[in-house]
């Protein structure tokens, strides 16, 4: 019996009735991971500790729906006593001394951390191929990428190893791999989830979010991780709410906007056609859909490059060979500790971005580039916020192509930004965005749709996403072998 294939309500019932134990679920998760070892979804497994924790839970009351369930964490979310590498050589032996706030929240629900997932080094990349530990493979076709940077979390969910994973999204790193692997991935509103203990990449953009096999479970996991945190002063104070509350409701009331930019010829025709099919379905069910122009949306990638590389260069200055992580052996002097450690410890993509970022923030350049980008970003946020006066949600494709080959060339420094051209605008405006699978291309690779809401309106996104999920009823288990088309 594969208990992790059941719905979480069913698993919860079995746990309550003592028909199964958390130990059985944890053992099953590790068996799945072992069987899917070649997918390279994990950097570190937490087997001994997870089994110990599961054993301890056996005598506890099953007090919530997430009780005893295994969860995988992207390896840039720090875990006390459990190696956290950010997929970088510079941290490949780093054992954190405290937990991220989200980790404490999961522990308070008695969820069990089973391991740390593979990713692009310091979340910089769009295919997880910049990982020091090699790229994860796409469960739908092992010769393809899983996307990035949260590629390992996407892979383990798509492969049905576990039901829950967390990723992080600075410029699309949850939604884009979710699209490539056919899973549900949510980037919450900036400030919704505490960033304390998320290794910083671009602090004004980073956000942790849930990656799951379906919409309901995604909303349930978001319920568990949100909230104001005194350790993250950008975390937002909001009334408690249940993100599942609109799931299954009628969509007649919804007004939807499709940016023309999202349906332009930068997007593969198969994907555009699939999105158009979905739009028809939505219209037939009473939703109102308009095509609109959004000012600045085509400039989002340039803003992202400046802001993300600039903030990264500043954040990654802490990796100096002195405070933690890798340090160059037998340095000649203090300069050699800095220069040598960073030369040895960082990979190519990270070095490239830190160098460009350092340049963009140096002297007068800070005004010419970074401050200017912050100004335009403010205008862009206002522009997008205005749209939500007339519309409930913005929809469109998540990616311009489906997952490409693992051995495609990596020599174009712009490629990793281009892959995220449709997901980056959301981060620029701090809005919530989600990927929902909507079908497959002619090569049987998943296609995803992006749903974007105004700030702090994640519940509306789950409303529409749950309708699409139910309406399409896709078979999204890659080992199921067949699907509806």
């Amino acid at each position: 019996m594969k208990y992790l294939n059941l719905k979480i309500e069913e698993i919860n019932k079995l746990l309550k009735e003592k028909k199964i134990t958390p130990t059985i679920l944890v053992e099953e998760a590790f068996e799945n991971i072992e069987n899917n070892k070649e997918l390279n979804a994990y950097i570190t497994l937490n087997k001994e500790e997870a089994l110990k924790q599961a054993k301890e839970l056996e005598n506890k009351e099953v007090d919530n729906i997430l009780f005893g369930l295994p969860i995988a964490l992207k390896d840039n979310i720090i875990t006390k006593g459990l190696r956290t590498t950010c997929a970088s050589h510079i941290l490949d032996n780093f054992i954190p001394i405290y937990n991220a706030t989200v980790v404490e929240k999961l522990k308070s629900k008695n969820m069990i951390i089973i391991g740390k997932t593979n990713m692009d080094e310091f979340a910089m990349g769009s295919s997880s191929r910049t990982s020091y530990f090699g790229a994860p493979r796409n469960p739908w076709n092992k010769e393809k990428i899983s996307g990035g940077s949260s590629g390992g979390s996407a892979t383990t969910i798509a492969a049905r190893d576990v039901l829950f994973a967390l990723g992080s999204d600075t410029g699309g790193s949850i939604r884009q791999p979710a699209s490539y692997t056919g899973i549900v991935g949510m980037k919450p509103t900036y400030g919704r989830v505490s960033r304390y203990g998320l290794v910083a990449f671009a602090s004004s953009l980073d956000q942790i979010g849930p990656m799951t096999r379906n919409v309901y479970e995604n909303a349930i996991l978001l319920n568990a991780i949100v909230g104001k945190d005194d350790k993250d002063l950008t975390s937002a104070k909001k009334e408690e709410e249940d993100f599942t509350r609109f799931i299954g409701k009628d969509i007649k009331v919804l007004k939807l906007a499709v940016p023309n930019f999202f349906m332009s010829d930068i997007v593969n025709i198969e994907i555009r056609n699939k999105v158009k099919d979905i739009i028809k379905v939505l219209e037939n069910n009473g939703a109102k859909v308009d095509y609109i122009d959004i000012k600045y949306i085509d400039k989002a990638m340039t803003l992202y490059q400046i802001i993300a590389m600039g903030e990264a260069s500043s954040n990654l200055a802490r990796f100096d060979g002195i405070r933690y992580g890798h340090s160059k052996e037998n340095p000649e002097n203090i300069e050699d500790v800095y220069y040598g450690t960073r030369a040895e410890g960082f990979g190519e993509e990270v070095k490239r971005r830190i160098m460009v970022g350092s340049y963009l923030l140096s002297g007068e350049n800070a005004k010419t580039y970074y401050n200017k980008a912050l100004s335009i970003r403010d205008d862009m946020r206002k522009e997008l916020t205005n749209i939500f006066k007339d519309y409930d949600l913005i929809i469109g494709p998540t990616t311009t192509t489906t997952a490409y080959n693992l051995d495609d060339p990596m020599d174009d420094p712009k490629k990793s930004f281009m892959d995220d051209v449709l997901v980056i605008p959301v981060n620029m405006a701090g809005l919530p965005g989600l990927n929902i699978p909507i079908g497959f291309d002619s090569k049987h690779m998943p296609i995803g749709m992006q749903i974007i809401a105004n700030a702090f309106e994640e519940a509306k996104i789950y409303h529409l996403a749950s309708f699409i999920e139910k309406e399409l009823n896709l078979k999204l288990d890659p080992k199921g072998g067949e699907h509806n088309e």
């Binding site: 509103t189 900036y190 004004s204 050699d336 030369a343 160098m355 460009v356 970003r377 403010d378 700030a455």
Partner: protein, 102 residues
């Protein structure tokens, strides 16, 4: 527009970033960094925006922390994470020498 940075320009940004580069890397980055820098120049095409800046999205939620002493991480644990440490100290190579070299 020239299609690559000079060697000196690459060494300058590498110095800003505190990263030492091999000759091979310098050649590679002469082209790659130029491509990225050309890309970010596109920001100059944007006109007519106003000068307010957005430091953090939804900054109305941000606030300052009270400046007060309270229990934080255990200093011993923090020291132990450092790659070179001894007792209560983090070890680094000699920074200020007596003029005779380190």
């Amino acid at each position: 527009m020239k299609d690559k940075l000079s060697k000196e320009e690459v060494l300058h940004v590498a110095e800003l970033a505190r990263i030492s580069l091999t000759e091979e890397e310098i050649e590679k980055y002469q082209i790659e960094l130029k491509e990225l820098l050309n890309d970010v120049e596109k920001i100059n095409d944007v006109k007519g925006y106003d000068d307010d800046i957005l430091i953090a999205c939804w900054s109305e939620n941000t606030r300052l922390r009270k400046d007060e002493a309270k229990e934080m991480l255990n200093p011993k644990d923090v020291i132990n994470v450092a790659p070179r440490h001894s007792g209560n100290y983090i070890e680094v190579p000699v920074v200020i020498s007596d003029g005779e070299g380190a």
